[in-house]
Symmetry: C2
Subunit: 354 residues, 2 copies
Amino acid sequence: MMNDIVENAMLDKLASLFPRSPLQLNRMQESDAEVVLPGTGTGSAIAVTIDSIAEEIATGLYKDPWLIGWMTVMVSMSDLAATGARPIGILISELLPKNCEKAFLERLQEGIGDACHACGTSVLGGDTNFSDELILTGCAVGTVEANRRLSRIGCRPGDLLFASGPLGKGNAYAASRLLQQRPASLTYQPRARLAEGEALAGIATACMDTSDGVLATLDQLMRLNRVGFTLDENWEQAIDAEAGNQARRLAIPPWLLLAGEHGEFELLFTAAAECESRLMARAGQIGWQPLRIGHVESNPVIRMRLYGTVQPLDTARIRNLPHATHGDVRLYMSSLLTMDAELRRKRDNIVTNA
Amino acid sequence: MMNDIVENAMLDKLASLFPRSPLQLNRMQESDAEVVLPGTGTGSAIAVTIDSIAEEIATGLYKDPWLIGWMTVMVSMSDLAATGARPIGILISELLPKNCEKAFLERLQEGIGDACHACGTSVLGGDTNFSDELILTGCAVGTVEANRRLSRIGCRPGDLLFASGPLGKGNAYAASRLLQQRPASLTYQPRARLAEGEALAGIATACMDTSDGVLATLDQLMRLNRVGFTLDENWEQAIDAEAGNQARRLAIPPWLLLAGEHGEFELLFTAAAECESRLMARAGQIGWQPLRIGHVESNPVIRMRLYGTVQPLDTARIRNLPHATHGDVRLYMSSLLTMDAELRRKRDNIVTNA
């Protein structure tokens, strides 16, 4: 009887791929809002975040429906991870083109379901409408004990800087998809660092995910904390191997894998130097190997070794480039290469002057 | 320093119109996810809901940016109301056309802010991106004691049926905006019935908001509860006066104000007959006058007095009409008028046969 109504039938079908959350009090269709018992103690706060996947689809960065579904979940879950929160679930609003094919839609839902499974969480509910463009919005909900939450603010000069994993995959993938006629078969499947975020309670002095790329993340942390960051001389060791190979094939200087706006959804975080062994011990317990990539300085500048010398970077210019180039991918890329040429020249000048 | 980054400057400006929630632990930009202390006791569940405003903008139903902002908040808050939840706040994802004018954007934010103020709640955070179309998605978060939550399921034959307020405004407004060359100056500004929803704890046996129109709501309640509804003979008294006038001007039969797909965002709820005086007493305490509009029957049919006789309605056909008419507003309207003509004819047949 329910499925006599086209909308009910559609919702049922979309939802049938997802297991229900054991914390959810209402059944499918039973409630105007989804109701969940967080199941944690008092003093526990709610963490919520919303993210739309629109430009990534419009520009062709994400084409595979499975990846679109996967990313819809992971982008929001990564925000929970950077807050140290444990997910309760996700709500998803899907705006679907009227001509959306059944097979495409099924792969999309599979991507959503697989990502939820990987995060140990569930789709709580959602909303489906038609639109000219395919647009997905995820709203992740989680809980975090107030005294265990991570924030972007709190790092101090002398703190060490870490990444939760290898860097540069987001930009390597984007360069391949957006600049190559025949994109390389690069695996791009970020996983929200939820267990890692929870493990950082009481250790990380600041934490943020790299959804907009590594240098943009450091620039934002710099502005919020009024401190600077210097990357370790061996920063190239933190570059993801596959991403590095891809950059070589495209003749892209490796530091641009950190400069581009496409994130790898790792966590960047800081910790006091005396906490390093405690961090590594706790990480070891969950089979995780954080990468030490630099340290915090009082002077609000981001510096890294490039072309033989430690150079300050104009990260404001880098972050404003997508805006300044109006979404023109090739202009964006050539502007980054112009910056690279300037940095090489600067080095040459230093060498000449010496 | 923060505002050297175009994106930070934009977010700051968008957020500056909204007061922060006193429950929010993080300040602006401080956290990847927003963190809120619900501030209620244990046993309290989280209510969450997501809704996108896309078709309403694309079809021209909502043109005024203030109304678009207002509705983005109210649509989700109304879902919380129907669950008996108290709002903690809302997250909003805004997809803005690149050529969106400053004055338009400011009015949009004002609508969001005014609606939050009217609901006694706050914008917790959000996400802003560019897109070809203007699309807003709201995700409301609230809390409800598990034993006080309202659900769509639980009504029984003999229960009375109530509306939280006058009906038909959504369809009167839609008819005016979508069918008239010069739309009438009809006020359409639904308010989520939050206090009313909270007052229904322990009284309402089922509750649902009329976001898709009154008959669609009754049809859904009928399917979920496997019961029917008969409207009181004087159902026209529950029609909003301004909506009734508008229907007369457009020569639309008044029952179509209940049949159309555009909601007034009132609550429809049921209560046992012996609870009516308790309901009215509790409603009086918050200055609220629920309207009794019908009762629940065991036979799963929706019936109302039309053209001198109580007739069963094909509500599945009514609900599937938007789908069957592929978004063609005039075809949708003429299909509804065809159904009206059939009901008149049926009456005539009955009279003739008698």
